[in-house]
Symmetry: D2
Subunit: 341 residues, 4 copies
């Protein structure tokens, strides 16, 4: 059975497991106070060309989103996000659980438009009764988006300028950031992202790690006593080494970038293969998630040999499905898939 259901099907990149083995017997301080966590932070700062960055490691995406948003917002503030953003739709209200509203704006291919954000902020502050409304206190976006699409450097520059004009942080959810950075369509570096965003995270769970996200505060803007926030939200692992060693490995000899590039190479072949055979795409994703429109009969047939995700009904006779590649996808799997379609 071929499996393209998600980008977290396998364990971890072998080098990571190797490093966990090698360091296993070392006695290290907990809660991130270990030399591997320190080393990982230094390497990430360098990769971001952001010596001032403050870096923290958290176990998973939903917890990271809830932690960043709840620790940065004032009590009466909410977070602007695209209607299809992960926090808006697929985290069982984790943000609202912390007391904050998601101010959902319309999106195009998963992306917020800078002018929509600007208009929203303008209208809010012009409204005489804005103290009866939730204050927009942050902008959330993900790179790549839920639809695999990318914000360009120009997009991010504009969004960043708007946020700074209104003095609110711009937060990038980078659960799949590696795959965004490795895309041929991408024109953003980690340094650009650190420059334009106030906080973002570099996803490990979906890009080669067993688990873990690296949160980067870029402008000496870490909420005071952030460790207390982490502990309060259950986001501080006793064995912080587990995250430190993984990110240290991922940011050694550009492993994170290399394995991301591999996933993109696999996705590009997959997309080309489908297009060549006359299939249509829901949209032209340049990253590791590909949204293919299948005839329902073909879908049923394919399902017997390949696992993929249902995305949404397209029309009565077609369905959109998602194929995800990852750092672990093999050339033979792509070849086998393309032979089947």
């Amino acid at each position: 059975m071929l499996n393209f259901e998600s980008d977290y099907l396998e364990g971890a990149h072998p080098t990571i497991l190797q490093r966990l083995l090698e360091t296993n017997e070392e006695q290290l301080s907990g809660y991130g106070n270990d030399p591997y966590s320190s080393s990982a932070k230094e390497k990430i700062k360098e990769a971001c060309q952001c010596p001032d960055a403050d870096i923290y490691f958290v176990s998973g995406g939903t917890l990271t989103n809830a932690l960043i948003i709840a620790s940065l917002l004032n009590k009466y503030e909410g977070v602007i996000a695209p209607e299809t953003g992960h926090i808006s739709t697929h985290e069982t209200g984790a943000i609202e659980f912390t007391g904050h509203k998601i101010l959902a704006l319309p999106e195009t291919d998963g992306k917020l438009k800078p002018e929509d954000v600007k208009n929203y902020l303008e209208r809010f502050w012009e409204d005489e009764n804005h103290e009866f409304m939730v204050f927009p206190g942050m902008v959330y976006l993900s790179q790549p988006t839920e639809y695999g699409t990318l914000y360009s450097k120009e997009d991010l520059k504009q969004l960043s300028a708007i946020c700074r004009e209104y003095n609110i942080p711009l937060f990038m959810d980078g659960a799949r950031l590696g795959y965004g950075l490795a895309s041929k369509e991408n024109d953003l570096t980690l340094a650009d992202i650190a420059d334009y965003c106030d906080v973002f995270y570099i996803g490990g769970t979906k890009v080669g790690a067993l688990l873990g996200e690296a949160v980067v505060f870029t402008r000496k803007n870490t909420p005071a006593h952030f460790l207390a926030h982490m502990k309060q939200q259950g986001a501080l692992l006793a064995k912080g080494r587990l995250l430190g060693i993984q990110f240290d490995t991922l940011f050694t000899e550009k492993l994170y970038f290399e394995i991301s590039r591999h996933a993109i190479e696999m996705a590009d072949q997959l997309k080309a293969g489908f297009l060549e055979k006359g299939y249509k795409l829901l949209l032209d994703s340049p990253t590791n998630q590909q949204f293919i429109i299948l005839e329902n009969q073909k879908m049923a047939e394919l399902k017997r040999q390949v696992a993929f995700s249902f995305w949404e009904a397209y029309d009565e006779e077609h369905t959109v499905v998602r194929f995800a590649t990852s750092w672990a996808t093999r050339q033979t799997e792509i070849d086998a898939l393309l032979a089947l379609i």
Copy 2:
């Protein structure tokens, strides 16, 4: 440098890492829907002699406590806990963050007294104005306690009877449960615990795993849609296999019990050694945490060669410090320590 600072100094038991390596390339479903998680659950049910148990794996103790308490309590309810309980003192208000009060009762050597719990519940329900007070909706205890002490079978039986009389769940935090079960003073089996408690967890982080706690609901009393609760609180790992494989390993051939016994053997030697040299204990802990009263000068001296935890000032000239052993403590370390004192 010898290190007895905590029971989470090393990585994981080598067999766990071995299993992570062996299974690393398998493509598995996420969120706990993998065969290793299923297998681990079956083995834990068997170890608990509780075929009806529902089992979930969570990454760490604070998150597990917040998840269990917030998902089981009604909005106007709080949780009875000892004043020195971990949730009362060392989780930065993680329980209150979910909206619930901790109803702290006095304790003796870290333990709640059944009669204190009974009196509290009686007085609450007799009070005509109890709707102006937080309702006691659950009893929390940890086994072993923060002071390494143990509830006896008789204690637990009584607490359980009280909770059932008042129709509230009894919840046992078992972050160090292995070390409790392996103690020579212990008269409780996992089956007893499953019988007396409504929910408890079996700690992995401090007993051989990289991370992870196994939550056991014992009486078909899992809150409806518990996965939704987990996701909402950021407690659902994408790669659930990471927890499943670890607990599957720990509950294969009684590894969990064996490695716990080793820690207790080491702790017993440590305690005996200190006593033999005339040191005094804060209290007689039968588990892996030992609380020794040191002269301040001796403490300063020892600190140069041994890491341990400050616990509290004893008097002007003495300090209580904690030595923790674990599954990973070596005989040579104990010998070296005892040679130094």
Copy 3:
């Protein structure tokens, strides 16, 4: 200066003040345990033809909404509401502050469409991953809506049937309910509302009282220990008599209905007057709020002599403004306004 800015410009209906005076020296129990609160409850039950109803008095609308929603929802549930609903837009996130998401659906003239609610519920439960989404746990609507429009008996019947099919409560915010009931277009009685809704409230603040909303649970479905919920959310007044006496007065000799009818008569004259002079309406509101499209110059002119509310820009040259009548509006005020336009 004429003033049509809102329906809470004056104090209270004189009969209410009279009753407050007459009863002022009586020594009464607090927290709603007074004979006036009891009497008011009986009269409201009778008006609703709902002998099983449970009734509670709360000081204001936002607090009432937050109380009802937070006490009825499970932790992982949210509330379906129209995008323009009061809770969605003008309560500074009071619902999210209690931890719950508002699941905003598109609306027409302020109203939810039954088929949209049905589709949303169907799609939610069909989604295999619905445990990653906020559960729809309640439907919120207001009668009249933010746009002064009304749900018909047929609308409410359908919404009620859908909610019962999915076993979730239907909640009607009746902050201006009197004005809805008194509208010529209305075909719903209080008894119908009690029949179709699981919980609703009868607004006092905007309909003749100094403050206060009467919450009606219609089906023995009051959350357990509701007084505890009220106290916890700061919604329990010490001098409950203040609310009891007011509602007792409003429901004596149909005062509530009579004064509501007066407001509607005034609004109907106002609307007819504007239409006669060729003004356009944003929509045809049958209740006490009228949304008039004014040329910007006319608006500026009028503003010098009349207070009204800005609603929204209509186009470059026109603005939508709101005129509200109330129980206190005088015929002379309407005449004076119509003379000015």
Copy 4:
């Protein structure tokens, strides 16, 4: 039947009702933007000799406590309060509902000791692991306390100095502040309180008003966008005039102080009468609440003719009960009571 059960048995001081009647037909802006609210604020500023004060009116004590605490604390902070403080015991967890822990300290006669607060703060900041503990972010006390006792000027000065040293606000719950100020034992003026506290409130509900508490921020330290906080917590009344007019009346010609003095005069007679007849007090309360130790038989006898509150069992044969006087207590009631004992 004589009634000394509480200090909120009657409606409002007649002058207040008179003013509500006189102003009833005036059309006024909502949400506190009316001239009576403004006038009341000016008078309170003057009474506090604090021209910089920011003043807000809220409907009741629990809501006021939750609003002040939740708007001033950081997310990871809790509030230090005496174990018997109202927020600790009798508000159904209203503070925890907003996510914050109450850090309960031992008390004497209801009062926090400055040295206990100092020690707690010192120990917290010295603890190396304080990021695992709830940060003490505020000190709460009430004047008078739950036991009717008073902080002296020296007490408050010391507590204020400690709070300023640690840079956390000192918050005084003044639900019965009038009765404190009027006590013969009191050596604090409103100006002193405004000087030593960062925020406090002047209770209306228990001191002559129908409802309402006047919150005073004394040092330009009002949380940003406090109206948004109020709306979010349901604490902003549409008809703000109702609170404005009442406080304007209470602070005209020192009415608040005069009626408070009357209550104290009545309480002093009551206490003297009991003492004269040989009754014992639980403690020597100098304010309007008197705690008398009654033989159980005497208590049963008295109950047939007098209402009072059960406070606590004293021993097997005696009970502590509370008698409360208020602005409305009549000399004839005191005389009748003393004739009965």
